[in-house]
Amino acid sequence: MLRTFSHRIYPALILAVSATAIASPEEDRNALRAFYEQRFPGIELDAHVDGAYALDADKRDQWLEMEDFPPYEIAIDDGADRYDEPLADGSSYADCLGNEAPVVKQYYPRFDPASGEIETLEQRINSCREAAGEEPLDYLGSEMSSLMAFIAYESRGERVAIEVPDDPRAQAAYEDGKEFFYTRRGQLNFACSSCHVTMVGNALRAERLSASLGHTTHWPVYRLKWKEVGPLHKRFIECNSQVRAVPLEAQSESYRNLEYFLTYMSNGMELNGPASRK
């Protein structure tokens, strides 16, 4: 009697559990927003697009001074020139990037049903190039960063609007990115969330740890440390390396999925790239 009962109830229970375990992206986003809202009662959530400078008035003042003469301006100009130059077959980036081009940053990264994977804007640019008979660009190189800087600049003020469509592959990519974000890595045993959620707002030595909301809105970034404009995945590489994990390749599947998750968390926030950082 009891046995049959438990046999019947178990599958139902397991179903119920797995249904609650996988929260929808929208539930995740709302929970994360609520977390930061509670953690920083005096700070508008939208302010986190400025990263650590949203948390520290002194550093913010220094940074605003730096932004008076934006160190990424040359990259924007260079990117504009490259963007306008016809590709090998006479077509242009604008033809390839769709009607709204160059104002497209808000839609990336996106799920590509053809490949079943997440496509970043950098990858899109390279497939435009290859379709037009050009060589792909180095994902960490200055040419790609310049193009990205121009598109980011043109997309300023748009609000992040990415989707996780009703396709199990898209949902799996989102879940994978979320897992990456919360997974401890490296000899020092940190997840992204250890620093940007658990310790957010604390100082690591002299550095204030920024919130993950807004982490994707302002790329590419001119960093004083890099002395050049660089992409988001370069920052992933650095954040992985500093905990003594072997970093992944820029544009690897895991980093693209991570970018997908992180960008979804910033849905609705204003694009403000390129930006400068210490």
Binding site: A23, K178, Q187, P247
Partner: protein, 100 residues
Amino acid sequence: MMKTVIRISLLLPLSLSALAAQAGPAETLERASTIYEQALAQEHGWSVTEPLIEEARAAMAAGDEDRAQALADRALLTAEQSLKQAQDEKDAWQARVVGR
């Protein structure tokens, strides 16, 4: 799919590693390298392991057996722990999800 197959095959070497303690530095290093490769395949390698392996090899080449063994032991420890981390984190990450 691929990932699952890799994960399951990874569970074996950990239990064997205790044996390595009695072996010489060359054997310890071989174990360390194998386990490190497995951790890497799961995107869980630690950046300290390879330099330790190389340092140990250099000590071996220089004929300093004791130093080679000490370094090889450290390489093995980091490799094993990186793989353990990969395995533990398969579930552990979920407890950290905000809002859960």
